[in-house]
Symmetry: C2
Subunit: 135 residues, 2 copies
């Protein structure tokens, strides 16, 4: 079961990039643009050309807490839309998404959402909510 509403899933499917916040070795934040997939169970996979060689990979191995934001602006009138997903990340070095872009290498960062903050995506959407913990 996904934590996301049908309107949020439609929105996420239409976005190509997300921005991933992690904690660096000095405890300061780092943010990078990333490609992503939403899985049927509501987890999110971050893919890349060589994820295991990246700073973000080392960051999540040290501190699993991450934030991912997917957002854009609909013009005329100016209407920002955003989904921020806070959660914990797991580094899966052997997983390769066969549906990823050409050149995507093995190594997936899988995010399990703990809290979702939605803004501007649907008029009567759930907004901010905490995700019930699952087994």
């Amino acid at each position: 079961m996904s934590v996301f509403t049908p309107a949020e899933l439609d929105y996420l499917a239409g976005q190509q990039l997300a921005r991933l916040g992690t904690i660096g070795p000095d405890g300061a934040p780092q943010v990078r643009p990333v490609g992503f997939f939403v899985n049927p169970d509501g987890t999110i996979d971050i893919i890349g050309h060589d994820n295991p060689a990246s700073q973000k990979w080392r960051n999540v191995q040290r501190d699993a807490r991450v934030a991912l934001v997917i957002d854009d602006v609909v013009l005329t009138p100016w209407q920002p839309r955003a989904l921020e997903v806070r959660g914990t990340a797991e580094a899966l070095p052997d997983l390769r998404r066969t549906d990823a872009f050409p050149g995507a290498g093995p190594g997936v960062i899988r995010i399990r959402p703990h809290r979702v903050i939605a803004f501007g995506i649907e008029d009567d959407g759930p907004g901010t909510r905490t995700v019930p913990s699952t087994t």
Copy 2:
């Protein structure tokens, strides 16, 4: 003196949104889309409708360390471009940018860059560099 190259300044001037990473009260990262201006001295001002009421405002007052990423993708061929700026933030509650968007309220988060990571913006650009400390 700005830490950014002329090509980077051109790139930044063409972008409407950045994503700001901060450290939340529990030490976990948070990321939000924000509007921004680059000042002649290389500092970056984050503006908003009501910055002082936001979680990111309280975050930077508690822990000044932030990361800001500005990025996009040029299609055909797929070419991602990004500038990540890591630095420290100062909350300026009384400052109002008169050149900001209509509805922008007082309260500016000013970022002083400590490290800049450039990717894909210019062929012979400086890439990653640490900013010399200034008085």
